[in-house]
């Protein structure tokens, strides 16, 4: 039991080491956490796959092959969040209703492998909607970005107001601007789903809906180290089964379903007889040589040979339907865009290269949304169709993209926003400002304005002589990077007089020649 507890608490410690920095990355609104820490996110399996970081993918596969689904208990923030929810659920409850409320259930292979294949299949054919909805890390991101973060910010405001009375401005007031309705609903639903599933059946999400869990399950089935029974020591108290949140232990048959076991070691910690071990799987030889009384260690696989068969069968069935489904998905997309043909596509962040590419690669984890210092990235609703749902877009409502900033491209774990140097950023044109002179205040009110030009970092929007002493904006397209400075500040309502039209595929402009610095000598005040 002592060894079991040690293993369990090591797992908890490791999980905390990964979970806390990731959580902080999402709720940190004052930019305390260095952006480099976001490299931790590259360990996420779906992100690594999308980013083409195959080294990390292989590492995860090897880990799963050696230790089982430790990923789900340590690296996956959604998994750890579920464990925390489970802990919260257990507060004030007796063990029987709390931490030992679980019991063995059969795996839902058709569902989990079906979903896995559907998710992967659609993703391969360029429809990543399902992946976006099911990826555990992205769901965690949406919960943290849209729910936890605002709560932390409100807490900060209360503290900041108190400090302000003492002339201390080390904390300052912040306004939640990046949470959109869609983001709030997505975060809320995900948290609710996790909470309900955890309360009812523990890690049910991880063993039914989660594509990462199902995928790792296919490997952990053969893992080298695994939890197994020392049958001679088991007294059939079933504490291990009741404490298994993956509901993978069948104590009566003394089997552990390693495809569902998330290697949390809670069972080892509860077994008072040390009848459970986490150890190397005996070789086939030793299984063969085992006496009839002793069940083979991977008895589950022997008793339940259906898992692999299910997987193969479902693969075949879904593979057959993929072309149909992808055609279907495409036609839905076309229908939508025809309806909204007049609407400009979303402006995507610099580094995303094109709307299509961004849509395919982004799983809407919202790390860019929370890390953007200008708060200009906001999750989309249905305005650009389901294909763009929850993906961040440049919303020039009250802020714009800082000319020198490359933060979103540095933190994106999937490579949906490719890393940019400052130089590259300044020459990437994500859209072009469209000036509608008939709406402009200088024309309609005959008064000075120039707010757009004021905010233009490249002076692509500059003021040219108009009537009398008035000047009016003019746009040099080849200088415009589409940062939205002009649009964000244009005072005209309801429709602004200058709006950035997105480049569906980003263009590249040349940096204007450096103007020569002329020596100016002034000796007289001039008055």
């Amino acid at each position: 039991m002592m060894r079991g507890k040690l293993l369990k608490w090591s797992r908890v410690l490791l999980a905390a080491l990964f979970f806390l920095p990731i959580l902080l990355l999402f709720v940190d609104f004052v930019d305390l956490i260095p952006d480099k820490l976001s490299r931790l996110l590259h360990l996420q399996l779906v992100s690594a796959l999308l980013a083409g970081m195959f080294g990390i993918v292989v590492l995860q596969l090897v880990l799963a092959l050696v230790f089982g689904r430790m990923y789900c208990s340590v690296l996956c923030p959604a998994g750890v969040l579920q464990d925390i929810l489970n802990r919260l659920y257990c507060i004030g409850k007796k063990k029987k209703k709390g931490s030992r409320r679980f019991s063995y259930h059969k795996p839902m292979n058709r569902l989990r492998y079906g979903l896995l294949i559907a998710t992967a299949g659609f993703a391969v054919f360029g429809f990543t909607g399902l992946l976006m909805l099911l990826d555990p890390y992205s769901n965690f991101g949406r919960i943290a970005a849209n729910l936890f973060r605002p709560v932390v910010m409100w807490g900060n405001n209360i503290a900041a107001d108190a400090l302000m009375k003492m002339d201390n401005y080390s904390l300052y007031h912040v306004t939640v601007t990046t949470v959109t309705t869609s983001g709030l609903i997505a975060g809320g639903l995900a948290l609710l789903l996790f909470a309900v599933m955890v309360a009812l059946r523990g890690r049910l999400f991880c063993n039914t809906l989660c594509p990462v869990g199902s995928f790792l399950g296919l490997i952990s089935r053969y893992s080298l180290f695994r939890v197994s029974f020392k049958e001679s020591d088991c007294i059939q108290c079933r504490k291990c089964e009741f404490s298994c949140k993956a509901e993978a232990i069948d104590a009566k048959k003394m089997t552990v379903d390693t495809s569902r076991c998330v290697a949390c070691f809670n069972c080892l910690g509860t077994c008072s007889k040390d009848a459970l071990t986490f150890s190397r799987k005996p070789s086939r030889k030793s299984i063969r040589s085992a006496t009839g009384q002793a069940m083979p260690v991977d008895a589950f696989a022997v008793n339940n040979p259906n898992g692999r068969r299910h997987f193969l069968a479902t693969t075949a069935a879904i593979a057959g339907s993929v072309p149909v489904a992808s055609v279907l998905a495409e036609s839905i997309g076309v229908g939508k865009s025809k309806e909204e043909i007049k609407k400009w596509p979303p402006v995507t962040p610099p580094g995303s290269l094109s709307v299509e590419r961004f849509k395919d690669k982004c799983t809407a984890c919202h790390i860019c949304v929370v890390q953007c210092p200008s708060h200009v990235l906001r999750p989309a609703g249905m305005e650009h169709g389901f294909g763009y749902l929850l993906r961040p877009q440049m919303a020039y409502i009250d802020s714009y993209c800082n000319y020198e900033c490359t933060v979103c491209s540095e933190v994106c774990p999937t490579g949906a926003i490719k890393p940019l140097t400052k130089e590259e950023k300044k020459t990437t044109q994500i859209g072009i400002a469209r000036f509608m002179i008939d709406l402009c205040i200088v024309k309609t009110e005959k008064t000075d304005c120039g707010a757009c030009s004021e905010h233009c970092p490249t002076q692509a929007v500059h003021m040219v002589p108009y009537e009398g002493t008035l000047t009016i904006p003019n746009v040099i397209e080849d200088l415009c990077v589409g940062c939205g400075g002009c649009e964000s500040i244009c005072p005209v309502r309801p429709v602004r007089a200058i709006i950035v039209e997105s480049n569906k595929t980003h263009a590249f402009i040349e940096l204007p020649d450096e103007e020569e610095v002329k020596e100016v000598r002034v000796d007289d005040f001039g008055f």
Partner: protein, 310 residues
């Protein structure tokens, strides 16, 4: 001889001679006193910001004439842009540092500095060098990026703008000093002391919607006037303002103009601006509108101006 010293000797002399106050009055209104009177406007050229500030304040009779012991003081520079000091998008940090020190030395109970920036406020505060300058000098750098920090104020004297949300540091202040940087401005044409008021309000959109030039003059009618306007023209952005693109937009004038008279200080600053780039006063509509509101005069000939070269 300083004004106060002169008056003291005058009073003593008057009392000693005849104890006749009529004589003193006559003396006060005589020409000799008009010459010794503190100037209405001081212009300095050729020094570093801190040195020029010293000279200007000395000519005006010392900071003590404007900042009293125990007062809560606000200094309002222009920190609008994420730009380094060399690019002249913001008020010179050395000037702000020297001024904060002066106010503290004059006995101010606290000196607060803020601006409602255009770019991200933290980047502006940092890149401009102003946040660190204020800290080093012992002042408080206050945020101004959230509506929370602004409170409604009526502007009965305004034409287009009848009320505005003004930063609470100013509402609580006993005295404030307006410290703009002189520069070209795409919308208002010139950005100086009056234009710098746009950084004390929350909602600037209404300015642009309702006749920018008029609203700038309107906000300047707020009853709590700055005790001094100190125009930083050490470096001046003469084109592509107010943000600027490169060093080619900047001329080094090593100048400073100081006056409590906001219209006069802007008129004089426009004169200095014209040494580099042509700009008609009619184009800078808010200056004339400010004069209409009797906020000051554009007729510099009527004022006592002290010009100091270092």
């Amino acid at each position: 001889m300083k004004r106060r010293d002169f008056l003291k000797t005058g009073v003593l002399a008057g009392a000693a001679v005849s104890l006749n106050f009529e004589g003193l009055q006559a003396a006060l209104s005589s020409n000799t006193i008009a010459v010794e009177k503190a100037p209405d406007l001081v212009a300095v050229m050729g020094g570093e910001p801190g040195v020029m500030l010293d000279k200007a304040l000395e000519a005006l009779g010392g900071i003590g004439n404007y900042i009293k012991k125990g007062q809560k003081v606000v200094i309002k520079p222009n920190v609008g842009w994420d730009r380094t000091p060399e690019l002249a998008g913001n008020t010179n940090p050395d000037l702000i540092k020297a001024l904060v020190k002066k106010c503290i030395d004059a006995g101010a109970s606290k000196v607060t500095v803020f601006d409602h920036t255009c770019d991200n406020w933290q980047k502006c505060y940092e890149s401009s060098g102003i946040a660190s300058a204020v800290k080093e000098a012992g002042g408080i750098m206050m945020p101004g990026h959230d509506e929370k920090y602004y409170k409604d104020v009526d502007l009965p004297g305004g034409k287009s703008l009848k009320s505005a949300k003004i930063h609470e540091a100013l509402l609580e202040a006993d005295a404030w000093i307006n410290v703009p940087v002189l520069k070209n401005h795409g919308g208002a044409k010139l950005s100086c002391a009056m234009k710098n008021y746009m950084g004390i309000v929350w909602d600037r959109r209404v300015f642009h919607q309702n006749d920018l030039q008029q609203c700038i003059a309107d906000i300047c009618t707020w009853t709590k006037k700055p005790v001094l306007n100190i125009v930083d023209a050490y470096r001046m952005m003469h084109q592509n303002g107010p943000q600027g693109k490169s060093l080619a937009d900047v001329a080094t004038l090593k100048s400073m103009i100081v006056s409590p008279n906001i219209v006069a200080v802007d008129t004089a600053a426009l004169g200095l601006f014209n040494q580099v780039k042509k700009l008609e006063i009619d184009a800078v509509g808010h200056i004339a509108k400010g004069e209409e509101f009797k906020l000051g005069t554009t007729n510099l000939g009527k004022l006592t101006i002290r010009r100091i070269r270092i």
